[in-house]
């Protein structure tokens, strides 16, 4: 029998190793809407950052800013913000629609 494969697993059994291969999905390409921040309204309470499931809100020192790389567009940040500082806008409105990178 001629085996033409290289080892996927180093060991006898199937173990994963995050140091060898740390996976990541391009979830930023999922969204159909994106959060837009009105910085003037932000009071740095951090609720958006706490409740964002993929943890996409970045601490900028005195305000929180959406980082769109992995944002799925769920809208929780906008709903939870007590100051309505974040609104969700259709992804199609933006020139860099569906692309990675900060907003």
């Amino acid at each position: 029998m001629v085996i033409k494969r290289k080892n996927i697993f180093k060991n006898e059994s199937a173990w994963s190793n995050a140091d060898e291969l740390f996976l990541c999905l391009d979830t930023g390409s999922w969204r159909t809407q994106r959060p837009v921040l009105d910085r003037a309204k932000c009071n740095y309470c951090g609720l958006c950052a706490l409740y964002c499931p993929p943890q996409c809100l970045k601490d900028r020192g005195d305000y929180f800013e959406p980082d769109l790389e992995f944002c799925k567009g769920c809208g929780i940040c906008a709903t939870e913000c007590p100051r309505h500082a974040i609104v969700m806008a259709p992804e199609g409105d933006f020139a860099d629609e569906g692309k990675k990178g900060s907003g």
Binding site: R5, I8, N11, E12, S13, A14, A18
Partner: protein, 398 residues
């Protein structure tokens, strides 16, 4: 270097199993009681209580939990032991598959008993047969001494870096579990010395808090195939390793069992019978009697069941004019018994001779001297070219 003589005591098969586990210094022991195994769990708990065994003994609420528990502990690096039988063995079936595929070197005794459906609290090998595709190494032993010795050898095999597979040691419920025989219990220091080579081998993978490695990843396409392939190849390596370990055990403790099979008086035999478990003891005496009467019969005792010892069976049985196989179980979907059906896969190597199947010993009905005598007589007739019955259910035809 040889082991010192151990203490000879008259103990049951279950007690022999418990002592063997104790001697191998397990870290984690977990089992659920079930007839005819319960004594094993009781003795292990008592050893701990008496300070004779320094292991965590976990009295779980079911066999499925027992296997999951020892498998996980094994993956964390523990040496583990469990014991079960029939209903318990099939209750832990998902964990059984997982343990083998995770390549966790768990050692377990399975005290053979009939499986659920026709409720039976009696001896039979149906439980072992029901789990033959679990991926475990499966060995069958004949008497109480062999139970003890084989468990020690099982750790040497399971934890070998080239193997990394769980090992199931099967012994007949009722016939061996409750039978008291003289058993030499080795000194624990000698068992330590026998297992010492394992410490010099590379470390197998372990689950360590803080290290980003995970056991139980999804197998995707070729990853799955690779894992299955490596598992099957490891089972291939078990064949030679079993013989090697048996030779080492024999040299050190003075008791050898032949490894994958024991071939008894087969060299100049014209015909042979294949048996396993405690029936081999009876068969040996009948073979001797038939030899006295001029029948050139030999016996092969099947010890290693999984992986199936194709090579050594072929070598021992090639050239025999007929072979009679006694199965202590049935093969659903094939007329002949399970071990007989598997032997038939070697037909081309054996020379396409008559292979007669005998189903006997179910539900604690003895495989008697008369039965074995009949098996030999009918196999001899087949060897002479006379007509023969392919499959015989001895309890129904006696």
């Amino acid at each position: 270097m040889k082991a010192k003589k151990g203490q000879v005591r008259v103990i049951t098969g279950n007690a022999a199993a418990a002592h063997a586990a104790r001697l191998c210094r397990p870290d984690i022991v977990s089992a659920y009681p079930i007839t005819p195994q319960s004594e094993v769990t009781e003795m292990l708990s008592q050893f701990r209580a008496d300070g004779l065994m320094d292991a965590e003994v976990v009295e779980v609420e079911g066999e499925n939990s027992a296997m999951n528990l020892v498998c996980a502990a094994s993956i964390a690096g523990a040496r583990t032991f469990t014991a079960t039988s029939s209903y318990g063995l099939v209750f832990m079936y998902d964990a059984l598959l997982e343990t083998a595929a995770y390549r966790a070197p768990v050692v377990m005794v399975n005290v053979n008993r009939e499986t659920p459906g026709i409720h039976a609290v009696s001896s039979g090998q149906q439980d072992m047969i029901s789990t033959r595709d679990s991926g475990w190494v499966q060995i069958i032993v004949e008497d109480c001494q062999e139970i003890l010795d084989q468990i020690i050898m099982a750790y040497r095999l399971a934890e070998d870096y080239d193997i990394q597979l769980p090992v199931m040691v099967n012994y007949d419920g009722f016939y061996l579990s409750y039978l008291a025989e003289a058993v030499e219990i080795p000194l624990i220091e000698d068992v330590d010395r026998f297992l010492e080579p394992l410490k010099k081998q590379p470390e197998r993978p372990k689950l360590v808090p803080g290290r980003p490695v995970g056991c139980g990843t999804h197998g995707i396409e070729l990853g799955y195939v690779e894992a299955r392939y490596k598992h099957c190849m490891a089972l291939e390596r078990v064949l030679g390793k079993v013989d090697e370990i048996d030779r080492g055990f024999g040299a050190y403790f003075g008791r050898g069992y032949g490894g994958q099979i024991e071939a008894y008086r087969t060299e100049d035999a014209e015909l042979a019978i294949l048996v396993s478990g405690s029936a081999a003891g009876t068969a040996r005496t009948v073979v001797d009697a038939k030899r006295e009467a001029g029948v050139r019969v030999g016996m092969v005792k099947l010890r290693l069941f999984r992986p199936f010892p194709a090579g050594r069976l072929t070598a021992a049985l090639r050239g025999k004019k007929a072979i009679g196989v006694i199965d202590r179980s049935v093969s659903f979907g094939w007329p002949s018994g399970p071990i007989c059906t598997e032997l038939k896969a070697l037909s081309s190597g054996l020379g396409s001779v008559p292979i007669l199947s005998y189903i006997d010993g179910l539900a604690n009905m003895d495989i008697t001297v008369e039965h074995i005598g009949r098996v030999i007589d009918e196999t001899a007739a087949a060897a002479r070219g006379e007509p023969y019955q392919e499959v015989t259910w001895l309890p129904l035809e006696s």
